[in-house]
Structures are given as structure tokens and as C-alpha cells.
Symmetry: C2
Subunit: 170 residues, 2 copies
């Protein structure tokens, strides 16, 4: 799994607290990370339709739906792609005792076992929403933690010469 | 997940059919793959104690226990290591609103969600044994498939100048 997943999930949780679009540069400042690196993750979320990039001086990123309806699985798939971790290369069709391709319409026993485990992993991530993650932060740090982030986001960053909107990262 | 996992699992299934130690070169020939590449996976299984490398002219690899007691998870961990796919880098401790390290003794909500999904994945792979995989092959191809491999393994490979035992791959 790429490190981008962790950043994307943190950004989504932060966006649940925002009352207005959040520029990529502002998210990068909050997380003390390179803006160009974070922009890459935000663009992946945007391509998957999970965030929307609002243009203009007050522009930035917003979640496209209620965080209750945004699953962790969707964020992971947006950043790392939907392909399975285990990729079958049809080893059974190799060598002197190779199975004939026409006898290999069903995935092999090994692939079935791996696919079943990945389905369990996906189901677990589908069951957790970004709203659940935000509630987890409140559980851990009390109700002022996310409210503090919300307040920080609401104060414009005067140190930046421009809005730092998402267009800069495109 | 590395491609080595797939090769290692196929080798373990093949070893369930063997009545004697199987040289790495013979496993490589059966799978039509580079002997040195396969030796790397077999050595990982050996380091994890899942196979034993029997030395000598009639040497080769054997499973160290009943395939009923050898889980797919153990094979995966032997090849790819036991570390989780998601690695938390403590993003919550970064930036102007960083959580204090002393307030971060519990994994964060994101890490908990990812760890829970990985636990579901591991549990699914722990529930499948190499014997289950071998039964799957019989289900797919009938009882002659693995028996055919067993017979092929029992015939010495005259084309090789030596036994092709595991020592050659070390």
C-alpha cells in the first residue's frame, strides 16, 4: 500500500471539519508536508469523484458527499487503484504438466484463497466511513480537536501570496 | 504483495504430493521458471521453518509438517514478511496543530481501521491450509492431477548432471 493512502485519509478527515473549500496549500501546511506531494493525492481523490476542486480565489477542495457515505475503501482505491494485491500469473499453465487454458476458466485454488482474503479486507474497509474516522479523532482527543482544525482552516493564511487553490497543483 | 508468494504457494502444494525430497531444480523444471528465482522463495520458506532442505544426492525440499497444519498466511508471511501493508507515519504529530507524542500512545483512528481490515485478511488466510489448496486442485482437475505431479516427481531427471539439490541454490 502506498504512503499516499495515509495522507489522503487524513485530508478527508480534515475536510469533514471545513466550512468552506480548503486549498491544497493549506492542507499541506496543516500537515507539514510538500504541497506538490499532497496535491497528487488530492488529485487522485478528485479523479475518483470523492472530492471536488472549486476554482477561484476562495477555491479549494471539498468532499463531494456526506462523510457518512464515503468509505475508507473508496479512499484507498482512489489512491492505490482497485487492482487486487495478489495477481495470479497462471502458474498452473506452465511446464511439462501444464493445465490446458480451456481447463482454466475458474481461478485456481490459490487465487480463490487470496481473493477471498482480499474480499474480507475490502469488506472491513467498506464498513468504515470517513465520518467514523472523524468520530474516532473526537473519541481520542475530545470534541475540541477537530473543532480546532476547523477554526484553523477558517483563518486565511496571510503568509501565502495567493489563495494556494487547487488550480496551482494542476 | 510480491510475485514470490504465488510461486511459494504452488511449490508447497506440489510438495504435498512428494514421497521424497524434491530438488529445487526439479520444482523449477515443473514450473518452467528460473531455478535461482525459485530457490529464493524456497529459502524464504526454509528460513521460516516451513520446509526443510535435505542435503545429499537424494536431497531436496520437504514440508516440515502436515499440510493440514500449514496455513496460507504462514507461507505469505515467510515470503513477504510479517509487516503490515499499511504503515502509520504519525501524521497527527505533524504541523501547527500536531498532537503531542504523549497523547499518541493509542494508534490513531485511521491506523485502527487499516489494522482491523488487515486482521480480517490475515484471519481469512489463516483459515486456509496448504492441504485445502491441494484439495482445491483435486476439485478442479480430478484426483489424477496431483497424482500425476507426484508420479512426475518420482521419476529422476536424467537430463541433469547432478541431483540439483537445494545445496546448489544456496
Amino acid at each position: 500500500m502506498s504512503g499516499g493512502v495515509e495522507w489522503a485519509l487524513h485530508c478527508c478527515v480534515v475536510l469533514t471539519t471545513a466550512s468552506a473549500p480548503v486549498p491544497a496549500a493549506r492542507l499541506a501546511e496543516l500537515h507539514d508536508v510538500s504541497g506538490s506531494y499532497l496535491a497528487k493525492q488530492l488529485q487522485a481523490l478528485s479523479r475518483a469523484g470523492l472530492v471536488n476542486s472549486v476554482q477561484g480565489k476562495a477555491g479549494g477542495y471539498v468532499l463531494t458527499r456526506s462523510p457518512e457515505l464515503l468509505s475508507v475503501l473508496e479512499v484507498v482505491a482512489a489512491v492505490d487503484g482497485p487492482q487486487p494485491a495478489f495477481v495470479c500469473t497462471e502458474i498452473r499453465q506452465r511446464g511439462p504438466l501444464a493445465a490446458a487454458p480451456e481447463d482454466c476458466t475458474r481461478p485456481c485454488a490459490i487465487t480463490r484463497a487470496m481473493a477471498s482474503a482480499e474480499a474480507a479486507w475490502r469488506a472491513a474497509l467498506r464498513d468504515v466511513s470517513v465520518a467514523d474516522l472523524a468520530r474516532g479523532v473526537d473519541e481520542d482527543y475530545g470534541p475540541t480537536a477537530l473543532a480546532g482544525i476547523s477554526g484553523w482552516l477558517a483563518v486565511p493564511d496571510d503568509r501565502s501570496g495567493d489563495s494556494g487553490g487547487p488550480a496551482a497543483g494542476r
